[in-house]
Symmetry: C2
């Protein structure tokens, strides 16, 4: 599509000062243009403003009664995985605790086994690639065009590298066409497979350096939790990763506050994710740091009703992002509109903070804020249309305001057929 002109729209530009993620009170303010236009050309925003659209040739979209806003950015997912865990879910709902299922070889390790098998099969991962594409398509249907995808269901060297290969291939298919972003994160430290010291040393000393050789200084993540990576081993991993130039991210304080959060802040982690079990004082320390807190309320909905205190974080001046945490066990969901509603209902964010957390701030976590996450001239024309003039519907209804169309800079994907 050469030129697309949205006119008579309520526009949420999310325009920001460009100096990193928004923090505290600055997380309010959606940059509203009550009645305006956006001109998209060759995949980028060519013009945006209030009042009548310029009389240009192109496809015109009359947006009266509707909102146009940036496409969502999902900055924490495990969207590449094989198999399902429904049997385990049924067991959990019948009362077996998650950490007990984990200890019995369920949870992450059951997905690891399925993923290894899929990667080693005759099709060499083609099925997995198709599953990832199907999930990225489902995410696009819900309005998300930039997605971080972690490795971490391989754990051994070959399967971890094969996962990163698959994520990179998906990134090439989407990014090179300008139609979306997929960014990889190395999560070899997702669980412990076998003897702790032997296994962790293997990830730190062999798999991580090889991943960096092959894929550059991609972000390095770890699941620091009882039964997973200890604070001591996570620190060793992160010191090595930092020396290699990798941005640091960490799953921390999901169930237990093990004390690693301060180490992550000290090492300058780009994000600390989860924080369900974090004490008030520690949340204030996050707020005083440059690190962004990534809240994942799908886990509370799915597992145990425990949610990170987003209100306390924002009130203390933190930068907050939100994400689906898309995975087959603890957060089986793909929809950022659902995450926005969960963050409003359970994490204490208001609708403006939740929308900023799902767009601009999430783009900052992925280092994509110059390309997406807000509607500004020169940035990608990645945007969604809502079937309402009131964006509060995103936060205060359950799915009713899911996008009615998604534009990826090249194709307009309408939901209007149904």
């Amino acid at each position: 599509m050469d030129r697309l002109i949205h006119h008579d729209a309520r526009i949420l530009t999310l325009a920001s000062d460009g100096r990193g993620p928004r923090r505290g009170n600055a997380m309010r303010g959606l940059g509203v243009i009550e009645r305006g236009y956006i001109v998209s050309e060759r995949g980028r925003i060519a013009a945006i403003g209030a009042g009548d659209a310029p009389p240009l040739a192109g496809t015109r979209r009359d947006m009266r009664g509707r909102v146009v806003m940036p496409a969502f950015v999902d900055c924490h997912t495990h969207a590449l995985h094989a198999g399902e865990r429904y049997g385990e879910t049924a067991k959990r709902l019948a009362g077996v605790p998650y950490l007990e299922i984990l200890a019995a070889g369920g949870g992450i390790m059951s997905t690891v086994r399925a993923t290894r098998e899929a990667m080693r099969g005759a099709s060499a991962g083609a099925g997995l690639r198709d599953e990832l594409d199907a999930r990225l398509d489902a995410m696009r249907r819900a309005g998300t065009l930039a997605v971080e995808v972690k490795s971490g269901y391989g754990l051994d060297r070959d399967t971890e590298l094969a996962m990163l290969d698959t994520i990179h291939a998906a990134a090439r298919r989407r990014t090179e066409g300008g139609t979306g972003f997929v960014t990889p994160t190395f999560l070899g430290a997702h669980a412990i497979d076998g003897d702790e010291d032997r296994f962790c040393a293997h990830i730190v000393d062999e798999v991580l350096p090889e991943a960096v050789r092959r894929f550059g200084a991609i972000p390095c993540d770890a699941y620091c939790e009882k039964g997973a990576w200890s604070p001591a081993w996570t620190r060793r991993l992160f010191e090595r990763a930092k020396a290699l130039g990798c941005p640091l991210r960490v799953h921390v304080d999901q169930f237990n506050e093990l004390g690693f959060l301060d180490t992550a802040l000290e090492l300058g982690a780009r994000s600390v994710d989860h924080l369900e079990a974090t004490s008030r004082d520690a949340l204030v320390r996050v707020a005083k740091s440059p690190t962004t807190a990534v809240l994942l309320p799908g886990c509370g909905l799915t597992l145990d009703g425990r949610y990170a205190n987003g209100r306390a974080l924002v009130d203390a001046g933190a930068s907050v992002a939100i994400a689906t945490n898309c995975n087959p066990g603890s957060s089986p969901l793909v929809s950022m509109p659902l995450v926005i509603a969960l963050a409003a209902r359970f994490c204490g964010l208001n609708h403006e903070e939740a929308i900023v957390a799902a767009t601009y701030n999430a783009a900052c976590v992925l280092g994509l804020e110059r390309e997406t996450g807000s509607l500004e001239v020169g940035k990608r024309a990645h945007l969604v249309e809502l079937p309402t003039r009131d964006e509060r519907a995103l936060a205060y209804e359950w799915g009713a305001a899911a996008p009615s169309a998604v534009f990826d800079g090249s194709t307009l994907w309408p939901v209007e057929g149904l």
Copy 2:
């Protein structure tokens, strides 16, 4: 579409014995055909079976790797309403209790004011009609083709009758085309507007009889709760409605167990809806009655985390249905797949029970079980396709298994464009 042939499908027929809603253990069993076909002709199911589809002319749908099942039935909604209550929701999330908002003229009464205004405006309800159609379309997108819609935001005689008119007109548009069902319920007893005795007597003695004169013996519902209709007035209403031949349904024990549940069972109510506050003993009495329990887990998600104990009901032998309770305040949602997942996560139903509760049993609540709610020869060809072969995804993921296509007997509505 003259003839549609689904082949190589995993089919959930939901075929039942035709003797009313399924109860207790009989709520398990989805009537699975592992690999089969369905032939739809002129809006009805002409053939269904295992193995290869007959070599008939028509549109053929290859369902390998996918499920075909009955379209959902939403048996409890307030889908006809004006306005929104986002400001009130934000207030509630900041800590103000729902009953306090109700007492301050918020809640139901704020929607009543907006609905009256919309009905009396220059357009005489055209805007409301369009809003209802938009919600019914959104429900269809999520796979629902039979929807109960209540009055109850008018409360005065003229606006109640105008609401029923609007619901009837929507029913005619959908039902006569064979493309869906809309069924009306009289809910003049939704709140108290002004002096209790005067108001309740007006509803019982004037509005109800007039509604029955105009629309026949449609179901009569009431909201029996502190601040709404008392047990004494609800009994007077129900005795009158029963004498007029109306099936009885009641919102009961949502926040407070006022003792009306046993009256409803004694009067032979078709359904008792909500039951979040019902004691164990009373749940057993529901189970021993012919009345169906309708669970509405959207309220717990939206309001207060309290859910009806579906597990106890089914274990005691009850018949259970589930519904969205679509309304702008306490349950702003339209998706039955979301309700299935909520019922599995929070009400203790397993995936089979939740699916039966969302299809066949819900059709029984609406008296539509001869037409829809299961896939059997002669019934309407109202069906959905899932993008998976594993229907457990409906219960154990959040929206990932939303229908990829919906067939209403006339038009196949795909979501595949996006």
